[in-house]
Protein backbone atom coordinates (compact mmCIF):
# COMPACT_ATOMS: atom_id res chain seq x y z
CA UNK A 1 0.00 0.00 0.00
CA UNK A 2 3.06 2.28 -0.08
CA UNK A 3 2.19 5.45 -1.97
CA UNK A 4 5.68 6.53 -3.01
CA UNK A 5 8.46 3.96 -2.79
CA UNK A 6 12.19 4.23 -3.43
CA UNK A 7 14.95 1.67 -3.78
CA UNK A 8 17.45 1.23 -2.40
CA UNK A 9 17.03 2.74 1.06
CA UNK A 10 20.79 2.88 1.61
CA UNK A 11 23.56 3.11 -0.96
CA UNK A 12 27.26 3.10 -0.10
CA UNK A 13 29.70 3.39 -2.97
CA UNK A 14 33.15 4.57 -4.00
CA UNK A 15 33.96 7.86 -5.69
CA UNK A 16 33.81 7.62 -9.45
CA UNK A 17 31.17 4.89 -9.57
CA UNK A 18 27.80 5.16 -11.33
CA UNK A 19 24.61 4.38 -9.42
CA UNK A 20 20.84 4.55 -9.85
CA UNK A 21 17.94 5.17 -7.50
CA UNK A 22 14.44 4.07 -8.46
CA UNK A 23 11.13 5.65 -7.53
CA UNK A 24 7.57 4.49 -8.05
CA UNK A 25 4.25 6.02 -7.06
CA UNK A 26 0.87 4.30 -7.08
CA UNK A 27 -1.19 7.44 -6.48
CA UNK A 28 -1.95 8.12 -10.13
CA UNK A 29 -0.23 11.49 -9.92
CA UNK A 30 1.03 13.25 -13.04
CA UNK A 31 3.99 15.05 -11.47
CA UNK A 32 7.07 13.54 -9.83
CA UNK A 33 10.12 15.15 -8.26
CA UNK A 34 13.61 14.50 -7.00
CA UNK A 35 14.90 16.41 -3.97
CA UNK A 36 18.29 16.41 -2.27
CA UNK A 37 18.61 16.82 1.51
CA UNK A 38 22.10 17.72 2.68
CA UNK A 39 23.76 17.05 6.02
CA UNK A 40 22.23 20.23 7.49
CA UNK A 41 18.74 18.98 6.59
CA UNK A 42 18.29 21.57 3.85
CA UNK A 43 15.89 20.27 1.17
CA UNK A 44 16.27 21.43 -2.40
CA UNK A 45 14.42 20.43 -5.54
CA UNK A 46 16.53 18.89 -8.29
CA UNK A 47 14.09 17.82 -11.00
CA UNK A 48 10.41 17.76 -11.76
CA UNK A 49 8.62 15.65 -14.38
CA UNK A 50 5.05 16.02 -15.52
CA UNK A 51 3.60 13.06 -17.37
CA UNK A 52 7.08 11.83 -18.35
CA UNK A 53 8.29 15.25 -19.49
CA UNK A 54 11.03 17.24 -17.74
CA UNK A 55 9.68 20.57 -16.51
CA UNK A 56 12.22 21.64 -13.88
CA UNK A 57 15.98 21.17 -13.84
CA UNK A 58 17.49 23.16 -11.01
CA UNK A 59 21.04 23.66 -12.30
CA UNK A 60 21.99 20.17 -11.24
CA UNK A 61 25.33 18.88 -12.64
CA UNK A 62 24.79 16.86 -15.80
CA UNK A 63 26.23 13.84 -13.99
CA UNK A 64 22.67 13.53 -12.67
CA UNK A 65 20.22 12.22 -15.24
CA UNK A 66 16.59 11.54 -14.41
CA UNK A 67 14.54 9.15 -16.50
CA UNK A 68 10.79 8.66 -16.50
CA UNK A 69 9.76 5.50 -18.38
CA UNK A 70 6.11 6.16 -17.50
CA UNK A 71 4.28 8.59 -15.28
CA UNK A 72 4.40 6.24 -12.29
CA UNK A 73 8.18 5.95 -12.31
CA UNK A 74 11.02 8.44 -12.02
CA UNK A 75 14.54 7.10 -11.72
CA UNK A 76 17.74 9.00 -10.97
CA UNK A 77 21.05 7.93 -12.43
CA UNK A 78 24.27 9.49 -11.15
CA UNK A 79 27.55 9.18 -13.03
CA UNK A 80 31.05 9.61 -11.65
CA UNK A 81 29.94 9.99 -8.04
CA UNK A 82 31.72 12.61 -5.93
CA UNK A 83 32.07 13.00 -2.17
CA UNK A 84 29.72 16.00 -2.27
CA UNK A 85 26.93 13.83 -3.66
CA UNK A 86 26.54 12.21 -0.25
CA UNK A 87 23.05 13.14 0.91
CA UNK A 88 19.54 11.79 1.29
CA UNK A 89 17.62 11.80 -1.98
CA UNK A 90 13.83 11.99 -1.84
CA UNK A 91 11.35 11.26 -4.55
CA UNK A 92 7.91 12.88 -4.35
CA UNK A 93 4.73 13.05 -6.36
CA UNK A 94 1.78 15.40 -6.53
CA UNK A 95 -1.42 16.16 -8.37
CA UNK A 96 -1.47 19.98 -8.43
CA UNK A 97 -1.24 20.67 -4.69
CA UNK A 98 -0.08 18.37 -1.90
CA UNK A 99 3.24 16.60 -2.34
CA UNK A 100 3.82 13.08 -1.04
CA UNK A 101 7.35 11.97 -0.32
CA UNK A 102 9.05 8.62 -0.52
CA UNK A 103 11.12 7.26 2.38
CA UNK A 104 14.40 8.59 1.00
CA UNK A 105 17.64 6.99 -0.18
CA UNK A 106 20.71 7.71 1.91
CA UNK A 107 23.69 7.85 -0.45
CA UNK A 108 27.18 7.73 1.02
CA UNK A 109 30.14 8.24 -1.28
CA UNK A 110 33.48 7.08 0.14
Amino acid sequence: DTAVSQTPKYLVTQMGNDKSIKCEQNLGHDTMYWYKQDSKKFLKIMFSYNNKELIINETVPNRFSPKSPDKAHLNLHINSLELGDSAVYFCASSQRDTQYFGPGTRLTVL
Binding site: K41, L43, T98, Q99, F101
Partner: protein, 109 residues
Protein backbone atom coordinates in the same frame (compact mmCIF):
# COMPACT_ATOMS: atom_id res chain seq x y z
CA UNK B 1 14.45 33.86 -5.53
CA UNK B 2 11.87 33.59 -2.80
CA UNK B 3 13.20 33.38 0.77
CA UNK B 4 11.57 31.14 3.37
CA UNK B 5 12.55 31.65 6.98
CA UNK B 6 11.38 29.54 9.88
CA UNK B 7 11.56 30.27 13.57
CA UNK B 8 12.60 29.20 16.05
CA UNK B 9 15.35 26.99 14.64
CA UNK B 10 15.21 24.75 17.70
CA UNK B 11 12.53 24.10 20.27
CA UNK B 12 12.64 21.89 23.35
CA UNK B 13 9.39 21.10 25.13
CA UNK B 14 8.08 18.91 27.86
CA UNK B 15 5.22 16.61 26.98
CA UNK B 16 1.89 18.39 27.26
CA UNK B 17 3.18 21.83 26.33
CA UNK B 18 1.87 23.89 23.42
CA UNK B 19 4.00 25.53 20.76
CA UNK B 20 3.83 27.83 17.76
CA UNK B 21 6.14 27.55 14.77
CA UNK B 22 6.44 30.40 12.30
CA UNK B 23 7.19 30.57 8.59
CA UNK B 24 7.88 33.89 6.84
CA UNK B 25 8.19 34.15 3.08
CA UNK B 26 9.37 36.99 0.91
CA UNK B 27 6.96 36.91 -2.04
CA UNK B 28 3.40 36.04 -2.99
CA UNK B 29 2.74 32.32 -3.15
CA UNK B 30 -0.03 30.08 -4.43
CA UNK B 31 0.99 27.01 -2.48
CA UNK B 32 2.17 26.55 1.10
CA UNK B 33 2.64 23.22 2.80
CA UNK B 34 3.81 22.11 6.23
CA UNK B 35 5.76 18.88 6.61
CA UNK B 36 7.00 16.86 9.55
CA UNK B 37 10.22 14.90 9.16
CA UNK B 38 10.26 12.27 11.88
CA UNK B 39 13.46 11.00 13.54
CA UNK B 40 13.57 8.16 11.00
CA UNK B 41 13.70 10.63 8.14
CA UNK B 42 10.22 10.19 6.73
CA UNK B 43 8.61 13.38 5.41
CA UNK B 44 4.91 13.58 6.14
CA UNK B 45 2.65 16.22 4.69
CA UNK B 46 0.69 17.92 7.49
CA UNK B 47 -1.20 20.69 5.72
CA UNK B 48 -1.73 22.22 2.34
CA UNK B 49 -2.63 25.75 3.39
CA UNK B 50 -2.01 28.64 0.97
CA UNK B 51 -4.43 30.75 3.02
CA UNK B 52 -6.84 30.48 5.91
CA UNK B 53 -6.89 28.07 8.85
CA UNK B 54 -7.04 24.30 9.06
CA UNK B 55 -7.08 21.87 11.97
CA UNK B 56 -6.16 18.23 12.20
CA UNK B 57 -6.33 16.81 15.70
CA UNK B 58 -3.78 18.52 17.93
CA UNK B 59 -2.28 20.38 15.00
CA UNK B 60 -3.59 23.47 13.32
CA UNK B 61 -2.17 25.93 10.82
CA UNK B 62 -2.96 29.46 9.76
CA UNK B 63 -1.62 31.28 6.72
CA UNK B 64 -2.02 35.03 6.29
CA UNK B 65 -1.03 35.31 2.65
CA UNK B 66 -1.32 39.11 2.50
CA UNK B 67 1.25 39.40 5.31
CA UNK B 68 3.40 36.54 4.01
CA UNK B 69 3.52 34.27 7.01
CA UNK B 70 2.14 30.99 8.25
CA UNK B 71 1.90 29.52 11.73
CA UNK B 72 1.78 25.91 12.83
CA UNK B 73 0.30 25.24 16.27
CA UNK B 74 0.99 22.07 18.18
CA UNK B 75 -1.11 21.56 21.29
CA UNK B 76 -0.51 19.06 24.10
CA UNK B 77 2.73 17.94 22.51
CA UNK B 78 3.77 14.30 22.63
CA UNK B 79 7.16 12.66 22.25
CA UNK B 80 6.06 11.42 18.83
CA UNK B 81 5.86 15.05 17.69
CA UNK B 82 9.66 15.23 17.81
CA UNK B 83 11.44 15.84 14.52
CA UNK B 84 11.92 18.67 12.08
CA UNK B 85 9.03 20.78 10.82
CA UNK B 86 9.37 22.30 7.37
CA UNK B 87 7.38 24.97 5.68
CA UNK B 88 7.51 24.96 1.86
CA UNK B 89 6.11 27.51 -0.56
CA UNK B 90 5.56 27.74 -4.28
CA UNK B 91 5.70 31.08 -6.04
CA UNK B 92 3.06 31.63 -8.71
CA UNK B 93 3.72 29.80 -12.00
CA UNK B 94 6.98 28.20 -10.91
CA UNK B 95 5.77 24.62 -10.21
CA UNK B 96 8.42 24.12 -7.55
CA UNK B 97 8.35 24.05 -3.76
CA UNK B 98 11.00 26.05 -1.90
CA UNK B 99 11.66 24.68 1.56
CA UNK B 100 12.49 26.65 4.67
CA UNK B 101 15.37 25.70 6.94
CA UNK B 102 13.10 23.93 9.39
CA UNK B 103 12.36 23.97 13.12
CA UNK B 104 13.81 21.10 15.08
CA UNK B 105 11.41 20.09 17.85
CA UNK B 106 12.34 17.81 20.74
CA UNK B 107 9.62 16.74 23.12
CA UNK B 108 10.71 15.10 26.36
CA UNK B 109 8.52 13.01 28.67
Amino acid sequence: GIQVEQSPPDLILQEGANSTLRCNFSDSVNNLQWFHQNPWGQLINLFYIPSGTKQNGRLSATTVATERYSLLYISSSQTTDSGVYFCAVEKYNTDKLIFGTGTRLQVFP
